[in-house]
Amino acid sequence: MGPRRKNPVSRRDFLKNAAAGAAVLAAAPAATAKPATLERDTPAIPASPDVEHRPPPAVEILTAERTGSDFMVDVIKSLDIEYVCANPGSSFRGLHESIINYGGNRRPEFITCCHEESSVAMAHGYAKIEGKPLLVMAHGTVGLQHAGMAVYNAYCDRVPIVIIGGNIIDATKRISAVEWAHSVQDAAAPLRDYVKWDDLPISLPHFAESTVRAYKIAMTPPMMPVLLIVDGELQENPTPNDAALQIPKLSSTGPPQGDSGSVAEAARLLVAAENPVLIAGRAARTPAGMIYLMELAEALQIPVIDQMDRMNFPTRHPLNQTERAGELIAGADVILGLEVNDFWGAVHSFRDQMERTSRLVARPDAKSITISAASLFFKSNYQNFQRYPEVDVDIAADAEATLPSLTEAVKRQLNASRKSALADRRVRLAAAHDKALQRARDAAAYAWDACPISTARLAAELWAQIKEEDWSLVSNVALMSRWPVRLWAFENYYHFIGGAGGYGIGYGAPAAAGAALANRKHGRISVNIQCDGDLMYGPGVLWTAAHHRIPLLTIMHNNRGYHQELMQVQIMANRHSRGIDRATIGTTISDPPINYAKLAQSMGVYGDGPISDPKDLGPAIARAIQVVKRGEPALVDVLTQPR
């Protein structure tokens, strides 16, 4: 139950009085703490004609002790949401003010963001570490449109976020031309294709129920963002004295678990397989998922290929065979995919030449098993569901929740002779793991002293500085040839947060800040290897990190370009045999070069660099870590090789 407060005036009375005198005044700052007796003898603002024709009210009621937004804060607090990320907007000013004053700006605490895309991506990064949603607020129009790309990333990446969009629904209550432009009939429409659920509560009880429901839906695998459109008047109107406002109880929905028949069949195939392989995508949702996965892998002595959409499997575990993915998939007789985003793509190669062609790279007789909650949720418009995979045992369930029963079923089916065969397999795999690590190190030695600095050298220098700390890599590794995961020892769930999900650029910097915000209370050093093109989408998040004292070490992977796109244009030029030296047009950000250290400094973030000599890199990182250990963000600009 939310606390009830006494209210000086019922809603109906308030509206009656307000209608008489407040047509103009409503636009003035409403949140004064003065008693409700503001009388106007000499009108500062000319009265509207409507007002002139009516007798003035005896006492105009201009304040209220408690409004709908206070109750909304009670509801939000009941969900134990730590932060609310937002760029301020008038359509949720009521909620904003209630959060900071009525709610005491604690759980949730307001995080000032410089762009709605930042707000959402921060919540995205936070959820990757903390496993639960933050609240994001945005204008229902201009804000949600800004937020859209980041929401799509979170949707593709199956990350829970609770989003509230403000709106002024009643056309006769829109204050100004601005508010008309910021009002919308169906505010959720632009995002509906890539949120799991949305609603438009029209009363406070409706708000309470829908918010708790939204949270629950977001947190049920497959997890995704949810959206509530909340009317400005519902926020700002006083709460009636007699309102029976109740907050429904939140219960968590158990994740869907694979059916026992399919699980037994999967176990049978895996136990009998001579060359099985396990591919993990978003397999581990929580730290427990990593443990379950290790238990299954060790029961079967199965090689694990970690696509690292989540931190699934320790990189130095002898069964981690990610570096041998190609040969293992090609030779496998049974392939198990756990929350693999694109299973078809894992067993096919695609050739991007004049004619686009693809080929099965797995054995045609290989049996495949997939476990994924993605099979339980489909939308039509956006195509992130990938190509149709032909699978033998398709289990529509959450992999993490299914793993313990699969491991049990495997153990039941293993006899002594099978176990000893599996032990031999482990010896072979452990040797192959060591060889692959050595191959990676040998490859890293090339361009070791190069200027700009090689991405391998960057990874190695950084590892030397953080490996004795309690660290967390809060950025992706794909665009730097995956060097960190090839060279570092990732062991804990929070050591890595995976990628954006929808491959939408601009995610990196704010997601890193959000993950670092989650890591802060655990005292971890959050490390962000930051691509330059990505940072330029929304560099304002550096200010957010400084303002909120978010300890985040940002190491720029500054290759001065949108390098992926540079390669795309190169491919087109080659295809036409023309201008093969012109692909840099429109794809590079080198003239003028951007000084990221100064950019950081301008926002109150410690900034160092640009560093182009590899010998200077280690000391620069060490200096920056000292700043981060003081609880502040720091950035080191490093000029790097493209990939």
């Binding site: 190190r441 090339y446 040839s481 390669m567 493209p642 990939r643």
Partner: protein, 220 residues
């Protein structure tokens, strides 16, 4: 609006599949030649289509000057049986070629072709090749984008390590013209033979990396 799109994903996948690509992308051609003209002639075709020429050079000259690069296999001392055995079950770096990819009969044609080549096939890199020019072309023509500024290669782009070269010039140039994998083709209209030779000369001028075992940061 920039975003990582389909091709980039397939590039990322390519990183998983680099090793594999060498073996399998060439496979569909394996059974192409039903009517054998003459053994050696057909052998030359198979040799090129399977990509043997990429590593061993168009004349099987290999890279005898580098330690563990592809050996010279023209006018080989191996018997046909030993030859087939080396292809089916290579000793080290070389990807294996199974019977599905190339038949014993085809390999015997390849053997005939290689035996028909003079015992000292000459390296085809012209002496005029200029490494300074090559360094410029390597950058301006975009090789660095996928292969790194020092030819170190990348697991993300799938671009092989090119510097210093592990394959002879003939295989290098032929691959740039007609790649069998993801690499975009560089036709003679886009880049001349002389320019490719300059690029090769540049890559050859690059030092070999120190062994990783001697770099402390790579042993942590």
């Amino acid at each position: 609006m920039s975003s990582l799109n389909r091709v980039n994903e397939s590039n990322m996948k390519a990183s998983f599949l680099v090793i594999l690509a060498v073996v399998t992308i060439l496979a569909p051609f394996a059974t192409a030649n039903a009517q054998t003209p003459s053994g050696a002639q057909n052998g030359k075709k198979v040799f090129e289509k399977l990509g043997c020429s990429r590593c061993h050079g168009s004349a099987g000259e290999g890279m005898p000057q580098t330690g563990n690069g592809p050996p010279k296999i023209a006018a080989t001392h191996l018997s046909l049986r030993e030859f087939v055995g080396s292809v089916r079950d290579p000793k080290g770096q070389m990807p294996p070629f199974g019977a599905k990819q190339v038949s014993d009969a085809e390999l015997s044609d390849v053997y005939a072709f290689l035996q028909s080549i003079a015992s000292q096939p000459k390296l085809e890199l012209p002496s005029s090749a200029n490494s300074d020019n090559g360094k410029r072309f390597y950058t301006s023509f975009g090789c660095y984008e996928c292969h790194g500024l020092e030819g170190q290669g990348s697991a993300q782009t799938g671009g092989a390590r090119l510097g210093p070269p592990q394959i002879p010039f003939s295989g290098f140039a032929a691959y740039a013209r007609q790649p069998t994998g993801q690499m975009p083709p560089y036709t003679s209209k886009a880049i001349s033979d002389a320019q490719l030779a300059d690029i090769y000369a540049f890559l050859r001028s690059l030092p070999r990396a120190s062994p990783a075992k001697e770099i402390p940061l790579l042993n942590q």
